[in-house]
């Protein structure tokens, strides 16, 4: 069965230092993977997506992620954290089943950025 595992429920970094949010997936075929961000009391915004093109994907706000099939990982990174990056981040895998597409969410990682 397809699933995603976000290894850290909380991550704290200092402003200006790198961010690493980890995601591992389980899929019986080549998946489509996404990272979404949710700021407090806001909706879900797409950060970036992997859909079997380039394995290094660049997204908005300086974020990027690398699809590594051998490690079944899709970790999210940013070279330098900004205070505005504090939010909840969700790794999502999509699958085609029962004649429809379905998006399965990881449990989320709450990113805290310290001044």
């Amino acid at each position: 069965a397809q699933s995603v595992t976000q290894l850290d429920s909380h991550v704290s970094v200092s402003e200006g230092t790198p961010v690493l949010l980890r995601c591992n997936y389980s899929s019986s075929y080549s998946p489509s993977l996404f990272w979404y961000v949710q700021h407090p009391n806001k909706g879900l915004q797409l950060l970036l997506k992997y859909t079997s093109a380039a394995t290094l994907v660049k997204g908005i706000n300086g974020f990027e992620a690398e699809f590594k099939k051998s490690e079944t990982s899709f970790h999210l990174t940013k070279p330098s954290a900004h205070m505005s990056d504090a939010a909840e981040y969700f790794c999502v895998v999509s699958l085609y089943t029962s004649g429809t597409y379905k998006y399965i969410f990881g449990t989320g990682t709450r990113l805290k950025v310290l001044a």
Partner: protein, 112 residues
């Protein structure tokens, strides 16, 4: 940029009452979804809708829930008799299927 619109942003209802959450998906999308997020918990799949019928539903989506696309533009989620545990943020989403889902800003449902 096209977006998914949800109304209302916040709904307070008494236990046992019916509520209808409304969504306007992106116009050329074919797949429609409802998800919910109980405060502090993960985002859970409720139901998917394609070609005017339910494609898949989760265990959460019991007989108290229903969805409808009444007029080709709106997509609604009805909860027939609300319970306290239905209190959550409900997200509508739409997609073309092969790529990302676009989510609305959510409706926060509070059952008192």
């Amino acid at each position: 940029e096209p977006e998914v619109t949800q109304t209302p942003s916040h709904q307070v209802t008494q236990m046992g009452q019916e509520v209808i959450l409304r969504c306007v998906p992106i116009s050329n999308h074919l797949y429609f979804y409802w998800y919910r997020q109980i405060l502090g918990q993960k985002v859970e799949f409720l139901v998917s809708f394609y070609n005017n019928e339910i494609s898949e539903k989760s265990e959460i989506f019991d007989d108290q829930f229903s969805v409808e696309r009444p007029d080709g533009s709106n997509f609604t989620l009805k909860i027939r008799s609300t319970k306290l545990e239905d209190s959550a943020m409900y997200f509508c989403a739409s997609s073309q299927g092969f790529s990302e889902a676009f989510f609305g800003q959510g409706t926060r449902l509070t059952v008192v």
